[in-house]
């Protein structure tokens, strides 16, 4: 684990402006840095702003104020198309509901982000097979998601996230749709990926899931309430 920062948030704030001059400040002055190889869990009750924070981290949304430097690049004021390019290059998403294309094969799903890099068919399939193998799904490449269990589908999603060799893996409640045994399997997988050097940012409201991470950032009412080691957080089990 080096000290090279991959995420640097400085004074990040997000305000939603609505009709009638009303506004709602969802994130207030968020500051933190994530270095390469860290395993961070972001927790918070619903309405805390953690989803908004995740969208900003994933470059799906822009902050109203503040600076976000991702892998050395300032991304807080990029255009939609520029952000798409950043996502393709640097972010590996894993969603709660997997978000696979249900009518396409596993191989097509895993290689989907590679289309937007202009990779050839052959190279895409090779890369896809490599990660399908890594996720212990060999032999399933020509099946469609419906034919796989929930845990396997999430592994497909993780393979897809890894296929672009992103700077960070950003997981939003990755075990939300899985039973407890499968959840543990998936979280073990994340641990293995982190041990192999992957930087992982995990957003969850479940303490059991958060405890797999090493660092915890807690958001309450739009502010950072805690930023430290998971094991030091006394109220985690509550």
């Amino acid at each position: 684990m080096s000290n090279e920062p991959v995420i640097e948030l400085k004074h990040i704030g997000k305000t939603y402006f609505m009709e009638g001059g009303l506004s709602q400040e969802v994130l207030k002055d968020i500051n933190f840095t994530v270095t390469k190889g860290e395993f961070v869990a972001i927790m918070g009750p619903s309405g805390s702003g953690k989803s908004t924070l995740m969208n900003i981290l994933g470059c799906l949304d822009r902050p109203t104020v503040g600076s976000y430097i991702l892998a050395g690049q300032e991304v807080s004021h990029l255009s939609d198309n520029q952000l798409a390019e950043v996502r393709n290059k640097s972010i590996g998403f894993v969603f709660q509901n997997f978000n696979l294309l249900m009518r396409r094969t596993i191989a097509d799903n895993v290689s989907l982000p590679l289309i937007y890099r202009g990779m050839s068919d052959k190279a895409r399939r090779e890369t896809a097979l490599k990660y399908i193998d890594m996720m212990k799904l060999a032999g399933n490449q020509d099946r469609i998601p419906n034919q796989l269990s929930g845990g396997m589908q999430q592994r497909v999603a993780i393979a897809r996230a890894l296929a672009t060799e992103p700077t960070i893996i950003l997981a939003d409640e990755p075990t939300g749709n899985l039973d407890s045994t499968t959840s543990d399997e998936i979280m073990e997988l994340f641990t293995d990926l982190n041990k192999a050097g992957k930087t992982i940012v995990l957003v969850t409201h479940e303490p059991d899931v958060a405890s797999y991470a090493t660092r915890l950032i807690r958001i309450t009412d739009g502010r950072k309430e805690y930023d430290g080691l998971v094991k030091n957080y006394k109220e985690l089990s509550k």
Partner: protein, 404 residues
């Protein structure tokens, strides 16, 4: 990268086979209808041009007035005589003037018989109607004077009476009158009305009147067919003809003509214009169905965008720029439009050719039709796809990912 977009578009279309087919059907029918109508219009134009090809030059028809006026002289109905036509022939600027008597007759040769159109005239008819003699020789003006028993037969008559044998020199009988075939006319095919122009026997009008019809008014003819020289002013020549016939018929100044001089060339132009207008009208009406087909594509694409909201969100999250989303949906609509146009073109061409051969008309295939189909494919595809593509392009990925 464009190839990948095309592949994605194809996968998307083929994942909803029935829906894609029904949408394509709209374009197939639209393009097919337009191709069919254009072919119809072009066939009409071709037939018009072909029929009137045998009427080259400035042509005029002189015939008795069909309107019976109050001042009929000598209790006789108005008529045109062969002498009238001969007199016209002598006018300045007249290239040819052929008297014409219409009849039908049954021609007999050996065991064969065939009923054909009988045309009594002089050799000038060959000039006026652009007949060529393929075998043998035309009869002469001396023959006409002498009411010689000679005939020229058309290709159909030759076929029906003589089969593969050479008709020239043979003798046929009409109303038991023996007539020698001196020549066979070159084939012309069908005219504008669908009549077989080769089903004809040309005979000196004198022979027809005297020997066959046994008429007591040998000089009365149905009308005179007159060809004015190309270099002559048509209106001036027509006036000259009118003055001549008025004087011959002793018509006083101020009294109505008991004849008509009809400008055939002007008629031809009118018919050609009508043909053109008809073509444009048909194609325009057919285009309406194309508009409907286009709306069908737009409808399907809009539904598709809504259905695939989450998919669009996923693609965007994974790095698809707005332009790729737009391009993907535009490609899908253009692809449908293209397939529809190609099939519509093929069907339209096939049906028009089959209809043409059943009805006996030559249906031209023009490069314009192909270019038109291609242009329609692209334009319709793009126009129908623009709105849905725009909608898809501007979906917010966060909202889209939440969509159920």
């Amino acid at each position: 990268m464009l190839w990948l977009i095309i592949k994605e578009a194809w996968i998307s279309i083929s994942s909803h086979k029935l829906r894609s087919f029904l949408t394509t059907l709209g374009i197939i029918i639209g393009v097919g209808a337009v191709v069919l109508m254009v072919a119809a219009g072009q066939t009409v134009t071709l037939v018009i041009n072909n029929s009137f090809a045998s009427m080259g030059g400035q042509l005029v028809m002189l015939h008795p007035s069909f309107v019976v006026t109050s001042g009929i002289k000598s209790g006789q109905r108005p008529s045109i005589t062969s002498q009238d036509v001969d007199a016209v022939r002598g006018l300045k600027g007249i290239e040819a003037a052929a008297p014409m008597i219409f009849a039908t007759a049954q021609a007999v040769y050996g065991a064969n018989n065939w009923t054909a159109a009988l045309r009594g005239s002089t050799t000038d008819l060959l000039i006026v109607n652009k007949w060529e003699v393929e075998k043998g020789e035309p009869f002469t003006s001396k023959d006409v004077k002498a009411a010689a028993p000679y005939v020229l037969i058309g290709a159909t008559v030759a076929n029906e009476l003589f089969g593969f044998n050479d008709p020239v020199g043979q003798t046929i009988r009409i109303k038991n009158v023996p007539l020698k075939v001196v020549g066979v006319l070159k084939s012309k095919g069908q005219d504008l009305m669908g009549n077989d122009q080769d089903d004809i026997i040309i005979i000196p009008y004198t022979t027809l009147r005297q020997r066959i019809q046994g008429s007591r008014i040998p000089n009365r003819v149905n009308f005179g067919f007159i060809k004015i020289s190309d270099s002559e002013d048509m209106e001036a020549a027509i006036n000259r003809i009118k003055m001549l016939i008025r004087s011959r018929h002793n018509i006083k100044a101020g009294a109505e003509d008991d004849f008509e001089v009809r400008n055939m060339t002007a008629m031809v132009e009118t018919v050609k214009t009508v043909g053109l207008v008809l073509s444009i009208l048909l194609a325009s009406i057919a285009s309406i169905s194309l508009v409907v087909g286009s709306i069908g594509i737009m409808n399907m694409m809009l539904v598709s965008v809504t259905e695939r909201t989450r998919e669009i969100g996923i693609r965007k999250a994974l790095g698809a720029a707005n332009r790729w989303i737009m391009l993907q949906f535009l490609t899908e609509s253009v692809m449908i439009s293209f397939m529809g146009s190609a099939i519509g073109l093929a069907l339209g061409l096939a049906i028009s050719q089959i209809a043409g051969s059943i009805l006996g008309y030559e249906v031209p295939i023009s490069a314009w039709t192909l270019a038109l189909a291609g242009a329609v494919a692209i334009v319709v595809g793009v126009l129908s796809g623009v709105l849905p593509a725009y909608k898809a392009m501007h979906l917010d990925p966060i909202e889209a990912l939440r969509y159920q």
